[in-house]
């Protein structure tokens, strides 16, 4: 009777001991390599993950772990020391001056029309009226005529977020005829419809227009939509993508931040349609 009861217990205990030992040995091996942890903005995360992978290739004993959670988490974790580097997709506010920011790239939004559309520029109010359905025909605006085809982005896109914040309109107020997912799709729609208006990340708008796609990026508040205007922070609809640290970075963290800002990763930045800080 006693044997019958104690037997499974003893078996259980040895199993527990074995699994604890296995876990500990695994834990020991997992911490052999040095790890840089980044947390924060989900807009910056895919970019940093790619930059991290490329950096790891030349630093075999280093691991770069990128985690998401939003810009405010990036600030909080960098401050608390939970992360070596925080990712923040906006400039630091006055209350965050205890952190140091390193701008990695810019994420900008430009409005695009078909190349044959005679409209040269739109004011802030005109854009709001068009996207909220108050103005429905191009003849109400100026040169040209025909029903305006409004193209909006799908929920959750960073360009949608930037657009809504900048014009201070609610997502539910936008009266769109077409809803698209990404920049390529948006550009395809505009290029195929002379009456359409939409917005895409400025990097892809300028690149595609340069490649001869029949689209026309509109100036905003009198500033031409160019990469230079974005870099000089003159273009209104732009946000910074920043890496933030609590104290001046040292050693490999410093090296990694410099690498992320360097020309060696320009192709990765452009591949996600952001504007690099370098040339």
């Amino acid at each position: 009777m006693i044997r019958a009861i104690s037997f499974p217990f003893r078996k259980g205990r040895s199993f527990l001991a074995l699994s604890v030992m296995a876990l500990l040995s695994v834990a020991a091996s997992a911490h052999a390599a040095e790890t840089i942890v980044l947390t924060g903005s989900s807009t910056v995360a895919p970019l940093m993950a790619e930059i991290g992978k490329r950096f790891e290739e030349t630093h075999p004993n280093l691991r770069i772990d990128v985690q998401t959670g939003g810009s405010s988490r990036g600030v909080r974790d960098a401050r608390a020391g939970l992360a070596d580097i925080g990712m923040v997709s906006r400039p630091l506010t006055d209350s965050e001056r205890d952190l140091t920011a390193f701008t990695l790239a810019y994420d900008g939004v430009a409005f695009i029309l078909h190349k044959s559309n005679p409209v040269k520029t739109l004011t802030r109010q005109q854009i709001i009226d068009i996207f909220t359905g108050k103005v429905r025909d191009w003849s109400e605006i100026g040169p040209g005529r025909g029903t305006i085809v409004v193209e909006n982005k799908a929920e959750g896109r960073s360009t949608l977020e930037l657009f809504l914040t900048h014009f201070d309109i609610k997502s539910s107020d936008v009266k769109a005829a077409v809803v698209v997912g990404d920049n390529q799709e948006a550009i395809k729609v505009i290029a195929g419809n002379p009456l359409a208006i939409g917005y895409v990340s400025i990097g892809s708008a300028v690149t595609e227009a340069g490649l001869g796609v029949p689209i026309k990026p509109l100036p905003m508040d009198g500033v031409e939509a160019t990469i230079d205007a974005v870099k000089q922070k003159r273009f209104p609809l732009v946000r910074e993508l920043n890496l933030v640290v609590r104290k001046q970075p040292e050693g490999v963290v410093k090296e990694f931040i410099a690498y992320a800002q360097s020309d060696q990763v320009t192709d990765l930045v452009k591949d996600l349609y952001y504007v690099p800080v370098g040339h």
Partner: protein, 285 residues
């Protein structure tokens, strides 16, 4: 009069058929849409290669491994705990006792809690307090917490479904309670337990919100359960929201997730019917 009743009969039939047809149509629409958008580039190399260009190229090898590890950790922890709790509720505590009622009520409340809340709990408890940080272990444990309520309640129900004659028979043969549970009750309740596990796995594999803050975002091949590992659902979420041009890749990964779920469900249903046949025979003897 006859005409009218026949007409009404047809109307009812139409209504009865409309429900399953609508559900089937929605299913076909979703699966068809996903297949249409992502099937063209699906290949074996996609399943084993590492992702490149933020997941837009390459494969999902490390992500599949992470997903399976997370689900394994989750089940390894959740099944024994759920069995224990369900046995206590079904066999050892009087059904209407205050303690059992409180436990049952709290389980039902927990079953309705949104997964993001479990994610935040897991992030605070497993990742920070227990120091497991972003890891497959944290993710699996969080998922275990999430599926425990459903698991316990289904296992409890299936244990309750075992006829009392079995318990009395076991007692008449002089079996101890432990022995009766191990050799009689659990085998008979096994098909029901499996259904509970099936429901739990379904929830676990498809979970995104609870995993983003626990198992994390790293898409490297995990070397242990203490590494951060991206789950398939997190990968799909990231591709469709944060990666420009990631839609096609998101559809491709969705197909794999659908296949994985169907594979798990199919496998479990096979075991289920097998168990039922075996248990049915033993019950007759």
């Amino acid at each position: 009069m006859i005409e009218r009743s026949r007409f009404r009969f047809d109307g009812h039939l139409l209504l009865v058929w409309a429900a399953p047809l609508t559900i089937t149509a929605i299913f076909v629409w979703i699966v068809g849409g996903v297949l249409l958008h992502g099937l063209d580039q699906l290949s074996w190399s996609y399943l084993v290669e590492a992702p490149r260009r933020a997941g837009r190229q390459g494969g999902i090898g490390p992500i599949l491994v992470s997903t399976l590890l997370i689900v394994s950790v989750c089940l390894a922890v959740a099944i024994p705990l759920a069995l224990g709790a369900a046995l206590l509720l079904a066999e050892f505590v009087p059904r209407r006792s205050t303690g059992a009622r409180i436990v049952r009520l709290s389980l039902d409340v927990l079953a309705g809690v949104p997964s993001i809340v479990f994610g935040l709990f897991g992030s605070a408890f497993f990742c920070s307090l227990l120091g497991l940080r972003f890891s497959i272990l944290s993710g699996g444990l969080t998922l275990a917490c999430m599926i425990l309520p459903v698991l316990i309640r289904t296992i409890e129900q299936s244990l309750r479904g075992v006829p009392n004659a079995y318990r009395m028979g076991a007692a008449a043969l002089g079996l101890t309670r432990t022995r009766a549970i191990v050799t009689v009750l659990l085998p008979v309740a096994a098909p029901g337990v499996l259904v509970g596990v099936l429901l739990g796995v379904g929830r676990a594999v498809a979970e995104t919100a609870a995993l983003i803050f626990t198992s994390g975002y790293v898409d490297r091949m995990p070397s242990s359960v203490l590494d951060s590992g991206r789950a398939l659902s997190v990968h799909i979420f990231d591709l469709s929201l944060n990666v420009p041009g990631g839609d096609a890749a998101a559809y491709r990964a969705s197909i794999v997730l659908l296949l994985l779920l169907m594979l798990i469900n199919g496998g479990m249903l096979c075991i289920h019917s097998l168990l039922k046949r075996v248990m049915g025979i033993s019950a007759q003897i």
